[in-house]
Amino acid sequence: MNPFSSGTRLRDMIRAIRACKTAAEERAVVRKECAAIRASINEDDQDYRHRNLAKLMFIQILGYPTHFGQMECLKLIASAGFPEKRIGYLGLMLLLDERQEVLMLVTNSLKQDLNHSNQYIVGLALCALGNICSAEMARDLSPEVERLLQFRDPNIRKKAALCSIRIIKKVPDLAENFINCAASLLKEKHHGVLITGVQLCADLCKVSSEALEYFRKKCTEGLVRTLRDIVNSPYSPEYDISGITDPYLHIRLLKLLRILGQGDADASDRMTDILAQVATKTESNKNAGNAILYECVETIMSIEDDGGLRVLAINILGKFLSNRDNNIRYVALNMLMRATTLDAQAVQRHRATILDCVKDSDASIRKRALELLYLLVNENNVKPLIKELIEYLEVSDQEFKGDLTAKICSLVEKFSSEKIWYIDQMLKVLSEAGNFVKDEVWHALIFVISNASDLHGYTVRALYRAFLTSTEQETLVRVAVWCIGEYGDMLVNNVGMLDIEDPITVTECDAVDAVEVAIKRHTSDLTTKAMALIALLKLSSRFPSSSERIKGIIVQNKGNLVLELQQRSIEFNRILQKHQKIRSALVERMPVLDEATFSGRRAGSLPTAISTSSGAPSNLPNGIAKPATAPIPDLLDLSSDDVPAPSSSGGDFPQDLLGVDLSPTLAPSGAGKPPKASTDVLLDLLSIGTYLPVQTGSSASDILSSSQDDKALASLSSLSANATSPVNAAPMMDLLDGHGPGPQKPKENGQAYQSLVAYESSSLRVMFNFSKQPGSPQTTLIQATFTNLSSNVYNDFLFQAAVPKFLQLHLDPASSNTLPASGDGSITQNLKVTNSQHGKKLLVMRVRIAYKTNNKDVLEERQINNFPQNL
């Protein structure tokens, strides 16, 4: 006999493990036990197999690996005695799951046991099959299970019914074999068989429409009768739960009726009486009764319309909602959520109660209630509800603030018909939970602020006040700093006072102080500090008398370790020192954004459309190129001929507006920032910057290609636009240093589009250069340049391209059909693509390149769908 395995009994092992004081001790004990068990397994010790597996199961529950015991389960299952089989099947269900290959080995034993003369052994096999069978086993053993559905002992029939559920879930094709047997189970008297039979029918309906039709036709009547019998049945101690006979059966019958009634007026009609009876007669003072009512309400709401029943259902939910038991309230909120689509008005009646639930101490309830409330908000009730929610925001838990803030912001934006209300609410949110506010939300806020020209003064003062009291909310600081920079003069001079405002005295010095606080605050992140720097530059122009002081603050950042800040401060310092004349033009107030543009942007994809400034190139599919953005050119109108300047900036509007595109990948060099849209022109001009093959990330093309109807804004010089995007200022300044300040000569009509490496393999590179003819934005001229990267010459070079229907493609002949080796020369070929859905769809192309090298035919294919979005 094995000296190890004889050692401890199961009980002793458990005791030893429980006696362990530390996790390390426990591990040591388990390791020793596992070693002993392995040894015993290796010796094929039959006497202790049973005990070993029991120990292993305990070890498995504790979370230790026990895979080495899997084969032992199979051996125990294959042995003849009931005790071995019992523990073997238990081990099988515990140690294995359906994904393990070993499981297949048990199929044969299972088959034998399903045909065993001892019904308890049949029961064990059914249980194991029902709990862990895989699809293959389900297929193999399905006939056995079907047969067992008619077994004489009801306890086997019920197990077989549940086993069938597993089988049809794994292999839905098998469903039709079970329909008839399942229907016959519905006539059973034994409750176990009945509830499992009803459950089987419900699951059959889910996987097979044939089954659904069958049960709907043949069984609805019978099910209604069964439900009526059980509802009206006298007290039966065996199934009684707090005065109700077998609530489980109630619930399953209601569930199946729901499936049968859904979408079928006739079947629904047949069950209305009994549903009404259940809804009115069920006792609601105990959990069991409430569980039935809950299921009944759900059924009523799902089946075909019956007005009277619905009222009954909503009333039950109302009662649930005022219940003191949290569980009941939770399910009520859940159900009301579904009810909003059916009868929003009825749910609105419970708004006040739901609002209370948002403030509940229970996180589960709060979450449900907030989601429900979100659905209930409309134009009429938004103001009081938001007021309540914001008040609650002040006292809510930290972990709930994120959710709550997101929902409030979303609602405020959705119902922001009055700007001042929107701004007020957002300021409150920013002051309370600014750290939870997402980037796109405060970006949107800045859009609105800059848009509401009559509220500039009011907003900047309100922000200044808020800033003084809560400097800990990052986003509040950012918005405040931006506004102080833009509208600093309004802050100081109390311009645009509204009647509702209290007058406030702010000196120039105070305003600069505020920005200085923001830049020196060590919790400020890079974005905030950069925004503060720009604000300072702007203030230097707004407050000439504080100019020296501002210069001092800017100079302090010249040695900043963050390159971005360092560069900005050096650039700004230069502006302050050398270019006094253009400074005021540089930092002019941001232009008012066109209303149509803004609402256009908001429509559709608000969160994505405005999120650009956080994303940079990785964030390309952000909806910027959607038609909604087209009106932007109204704002900057840069391509208009009477703008005496290189078309610059304005590309990625939010970024330039805020001047905060600080994604680290781009930070090192302002000049080499390809995604900054139309700075390209400027860069071309100065021939600085290596382009990364990144698409210009925005609406620059829209600016250039759309109609130019707002000439009023044309006076906006590119310089001012440029300065608001200080990253661009670097090359600009170089330019200025060279030529001195003066009218900006170079005028660009077209736009330079960024080149695209359309295809690159180890042997070949294809570059696309894009251009457009003035006046036909739909048509893109592509010059394809092919370069041979291998050391062999390519002959019979052929380039082919195909485009979808909305595009038209014209290919000019190639410059040659021989491509010299090692990049020693190239082939060019011109393509003309006309996009009939310009502005709606992006270019896309499939290319195929064929050539001969070393007398071998080579074919390379690729789909190109990364065309610049501005084409």
């Binding site: 458990i14 009931f82 569980n327």
Partner: protein, 165 residues
């Protein structure tokens, strides 16, 4: 459908796990860790439901043990509470006022009972008496088998003794 059943002690020790949906060993450990973090920290008056990974976990505390069952979003949470109670009552009847220690030392018995109650994550038997009867019948089958083996061993031993005499 019930995806899994967990019994966790107040200290976070796992007393029983039963998985009706496939979870790998790694996932199981993670699920248990996540859920004990979620459930054990909840206050006593809160509702018995926790939303978790698009599913719902219904739990109920009995003395030092939390009984948790994970269900689909559209299942009836209140019914699951009844099922948990149903299981506890059967355990109680079987062990005679059950306590955590019973479940530790006789964890296999707790499983046998659960297997008479649930299969494939669905309720199998609404009658506590039937469950108790079925478990008892199988227990006695085991007892008889044991007696038989021991009597056979005795006979062999006796035979060996007589032979050696």
């Amino acid at each position: 459908m019930i995806h899994f059943v967990l019994l966790i002690s107040r200290q976070g020790k796992v007393r029983l796990t039963k998985w009706y949906s496939p979870y790998s060993q790694k996932e199981r450990t993670k699920v248990i860790r996540e859920l004990s973090g979620l459930i054990l920290t909840r206050g006593p008056k809160l509702c018995n439901f926790v939303e978790w990974r698009g599913l719902r976990v219904v739990y109920k505390r009995y003395a030092s043990l939390y009984f948790c069952m994970c269900i689909d979003e559209d299942d009836n949470e209140l019914e699951i509470l009844e099922i948990i109670h149903h299981y506890v009552e059967v355990l109680d009847r079987y062990f005679g006022s059950v306590c955590e220690l019973d479940l530790i030392y006789n964890f296999h018995k707790a499983y046998f009972i659960l297997d008479e109650l649930l299969i494939a994550g669905e309720l199998q038997e609404p009658s506590k008496r039937t469950v108790a009867r079925l478990v008892a019948a199988q227990d006695s089958l085991v007892e008889t088998a044991k007696e038989q083996t021991s009597s056979i061993t005795n006979i062999i031993a006796q035979a060996a003794n007589t032979a050696s005499l």
